[in-house]
C-alpha cells in the first residue's frame, strides 16, 4: 500500500528566510506527486505536481519541489517566505492519473513577520 509521511507537524520561520517542508512517500513505482496548500477557511489549493521529467518542478507563488527517486522524497522549497505563506501544506500522491489521492498529515507553517 502507498503512504505519505510529513515528519514535521509544525514549522516556524522568519519572514525572508528560506523554507523546506519535507515529504517522503512509499510506493513501488513512481507516483504522481502533489503539494497542496490550505489557507484558513479555504479549500485545499494545488501548488505544484510531478510525474516525470525534470525532478525540480516549479509551482505557484515561487514554490518549487524536488523529486528524488533514490530517497523517495518530494520536498517543497521556497527561497524567501512571506507572512502570507502561513498555512497548512499537504503532500499527496496518486497511483494513476486522475485517481484518488493519498495525503500526508500536513505541515503547519507559521511565518513570523
Amino acid at each position: 500500500a502507498q503512504s505519505v509521511t510529513q515528519p514535521d507537524a509544525r514549522v516556524t520561520v522568519s519572514e525572508g528566510a528560506s523554507l523546506q517542508l519535507r515529504c517522503k512517500y512509499s510506493y513501488s513505482a513512481t507516483p504522481y506527486l502533489f503539494w497542496y496548500v490550505q489557507y484558513p477557511r479555504q479549500g485545499l489549493q494545488l501548488l505544484l505536481k510531478y510525474y516525470s521529467g525534470d525532478p525540480v518542478v516549479q509551482g505557484v507563488n515561487s514554490f518549487e519541489a524536488e523529486f528524488s527517486k533514490s530517497n523517495s522524497s518530494f520536498h517543497l522549497q521556497k527561497a524567501s517566505v512571506h507572512w502570507s505563506d502561513s498555512a497548512v501544506y499537504f503532500c499527496a500522491l496518486s497511483m494513476t492519473m486522475g485517481y484518488k489521492l493519498t495525503f500526508g498529515t500536513g505541515t503547519s507553517l507559521l511565518v513570523d513577520p
Partner: protein, 115 residues
Amino acid sequence: DTTVKQNPRYKLARVGKPVNLICSQTMNHDTMYWYQKKPNQAPKLLLFYYDKILNREADTFEKFQSSRPNNSFCSLYIGSAGLEYSAMYLCASSLRDWGNYAEQFFGPGTRLTVL
C-alpha cells in the same frame, strides 16, 4: 469558475440521527470525491463518483453513502451518526483528461460535530 461549493459549512448532529452533506461544482467535472479530515490526521478518501459509478473505500464501505443526481451535485449521507463521525468533510472534483494530470479542486469543507 473553479469553485467547489459545500453546504452547510458547519453542521451539528445528534448521535443516531442522519446527516446529509451537499457538494456542487460547475466545471463539468466527471469525478467527484469525498474525503474525511480529523485533527492531526491526513485527509482520507471515503468514496468517489466517476460519472454515475460510485466507488467506496473498503474500510468505510458501510459507514457512508452517496448520491449524484446530476453531474454538478454530489451528496454524502450518514444514516446514523456516531461520535466518531465528527470531522471536516472535504469535497473535491476533477476531470479525467488522459492528456493531462487531473488536478482535484477542493471545496472549503463542512465541519460536522456530532453530540
